[in-house]
């Protein structure tokens, strides 16, 4: 009657590990790139995560907040994050320098269903900071390229200076096994070498899609979802093959603090990756 409960976490799931900022540099005016390694080498190597998951990062004196992991589990050791300066914790993070220590715990949340996606064509649509979580799965697909069909990337930003990881995406654009389209809403430099216009206008470049055999992954600002989802639905991709990753307020990451509750689920346990079907049958998701 009083058998041991099955508990997957260590003794204290709230305990952060000390982690070192290996590299940090600005990506845009308000977004910085962070490469982080857990200080304890053994723990750094045993930090096993999957695409779509997030981690809680804490800065002493400022607090703790959730961030999606931008690196791919196919390149273990270093964790990468694209972080926008938006609140107390991120403001403090922006003050941190290379070699400084922060707190890190995780990984948390569900994952992109990369096993189900095997052999399928993949359309990734990212806008603005939506590149942060989707870069993880994009790099994973490319590192395991022979296991997937067509890989298509539609990436939109407001202006050239606001496209995260521009250089990286332009070099990916050179790859022959990736259909990569980069667009800016407005080219204020006059020198943008790729598309100009909304990300929705890139869909016509995809050619014929076999919808039953296609997964689509979307992440971007709230305003983007409505229009991008319309385009994806026009392609007739099944609703449970359209995947999104969502943001919520979180204070624990392990289903206790309550803030990320939606209906009967917690975004931190049952999300952040949801299908379009989840979104229309569970209220309040987007």
């Amino acid at each position: 009657m009083n058998g041991e409960n099955k508990i997957k976490a260590p003794a204290n799931p709230f305990q952060p590990e000390l982690a070192r900022i290996v590299r940090t540099y600005p990506l845009t005016d308000d977004v910085k790139f962070f490469q982080i390694r857990i200080a304890d080498m053994e723990k750094a190597l045993s930090f096993q995560y999957q695409t779509g998951q997030f981690a809680m990062i804490s800065v002493l004196g400022a607090g703790e907040a959730p961030f999606s992991i931008s690196s791919t589990p196919s390149r273990p050791g270093l964790l990468e994050f694209c972080i926008r300066k938006a609140g107390t914790v991120t403001n403090a993070l922006f003050q941190m320098k290379e070699n400084n220590l922060i707190g890190l715990r995780g990984p948390y949340g569900n994952t992109f269903p990369v096993n189900k996606m095997k052999g399928k064509d993949i359309v990734i649509v990212m806008g603005g900071l939506g590149a942060a979580p989707l870069r993880s799965v994009l790099l994973y697909l490319l590192d395991n390229r022979d296991q997937f069909g067509r890989v298509m990337l539609l990436h939109g930003a407001k202006r050239p200076a606001e496209m995260l990881l521009r250089e990286e995406f332009f070099s990916l654009k050179e790859r022959e096994d990736l259909e990569c389209y980069l667009t800016v809403d407005k080219d204020d430099t006059g020198e943008w070498p790729a598309d100009v216009g909304l990300v929705t206008q890139l869909f016509k470049k995809l050619g014929t899609i076999n919808p039953e055999n296609t997964f689509s992954l979307v992440c971007g600002p709230p305003i983007m979802y409505k229009f991008v989802l319309e385009e994806i639905l026009k392609l007739n991709i099944p609703k449970d093959q359209i995947l999104m990753t969502l943001e919520r307020r979180m204070k624990c990451g392990v289903g206790k603090c309550g803030h990320c509750a939606i209906d009967y689920i917690y975004t931190c346990l049952d999300g952040p990756v949801f299908t379009y079907w989840d979104v229309i049958h569970m209220r309040e998701l987007i």
Binding site: L60, G61, E64, K251, G255, K256, H259, Y264
Partner: protein
């Protein structure tokens, strides 16, 4: 189940023996119909003639504010100073059910050590009660207990019938076995049954909790929610007094002059404005009605689909606490299409007068 008898006149002696190495918490009277759980120094202050305390016993497990870590640049040291050996005496069946609900919640997927350690160090000594006009525990089937307690005392005039609910409860009895009588007479049993029958009849409030999950779904767009939203003060009283509400916030409080912080955890409330706000200014539940919907779907629908029972134990505290009549009873009745005399119904009439 082991059942014994204790003479009422021996109660304080028993409490004294068992609380030598633990803090004894029990209900104390603070005013007319106002009771609180408090650490007992003087046994005569214990007042068992109460229906519900202002705050539920969750405050004894996880205080409204406590430290999770003492943190420095190089270390996060867990702080369990809120954990000590405790005995809660006089806790009613609804509140025991609330603890069982929290036991499940705090061990679901991840174990919360701050709750678990406090719970493991606390003995639960339940006590029988009598319903008043706000008690709804019969509707939630939480008016009797089968688990979650170590001892349970049923008041039968000059004696207690004591149910032993756990191995630790049995150990308590063994500290002074001569105080207890193992043999219940036919008369005791008859009295016990009669009391239960009469108590069952004394409940006046009844909610059809079984219908709530479907109703929450069907009435999700109902204008009722807008009315509730207009009336709600977003004060958070309902969540503070609810024995199963467990949302919390975490704060990093720097200690001035030292390069270290207290990482503390305090109760939060889903009815407060910024509950679902994220950095950058987005707020997923700006409207009061949206936050009330979250509270009530969570209590009356979501919990049932996840754990099989509502997160309401029928204690009636929200009825007492809400200044504008928004509580499990009035909301359930209104969803069920019944006319109820509430602040929000009067509000429209008074405004248009």
């Amino acid at each position: 189940m082991k059942i014994v008898k204790l003479k009422k006149s021996n109660l304080f002696l028993f409490l004294e023996i068992i609380s030598k190495e633990a803090d004894l918490w029990a209900p104390v009277k603070k005013g007319p119909d106002k009771h609180i759980f408090e650490v007992i120094e003087d046994f005569s202050k214990i007042n068992l003639d109460y229906t519900r305390t202002i705050l539920p016993p969750k405050k004894i497990m996880l205080p409204s504010n406590f430290n999770m870590f003492q943190a420095s640049n190089t270390e996060y040291t867990p702080d369990f100073s809120h954990v000590s050996r405790k005995i809660i005496f006089g806790i009613h069946p609804c509140d025991i059910h609330a603890l069982v609900t929290m036991d499940k919640f705090y061990s679901h997927e991840y174990n919360d050590p701050y709750y678990q350690k406090a719970r493991d160090n606390t003995l639960i000594l339940g006590h029988s009660c009598w319903p008043d006009e706000y008690c709804m525990c019969k509707s939630t089937h939480t008016h009797v207990v089968k688990e979650g307690y170590d001892l349970f005392f049923t008041d039968l005039e000059d004696t207690y019938v004591v149910w032993i609910g756990s191995s630790r409860g049995d150990d308590l009895i063994r500290l002074k076995p001569e105080l207890f009588d193992k043999d219940l007479t036919d008369k005791d049993i008859q009295k016990f049954s009669q009391r239960r029958e009469e108590r069952d009849k004394a409940f006046t409030k009844d909610i059809n909790f079984e219908a709530m999950p479907d109703l929450m779904e069907l009435k999700y767009q109902s204008p009722l929610w807008d009315k509730l939203g207009e009336a709600c003060l977003a004060c958070g009283s309902c969540t503070n007094v609810c024995p199963t509400c467990n949302c919390y916030n975490v704060e990093d409080k720097p200690i001035l002059g030292k390069n270290c912080s207290n990482i503390s955890r305090c109760w939060d409330s889903c009815t407060l404005e910024n509950y679902s706000g994220v950095a950058g200014g987005e707020n997923f539940r700006e409207k009061r009605s949206d936050r009330l919907k979250l509270f009530y779907t969570h209590k009356l629908q979501s919990y049932i689909s996840k754990y099989g029972n509502p997160a309401c134990v029928g204690c009636g505290r929200c009825i007492v606490a809400c200044p504008v009549d928004i509580n499990v009873y009035t909301v359930s009745k209104s969803l069920d299409g019944e006319a109820v005399d509430t602040f929000w119904n009067r509000l429209n009439k008074e405004v248009t007068k």
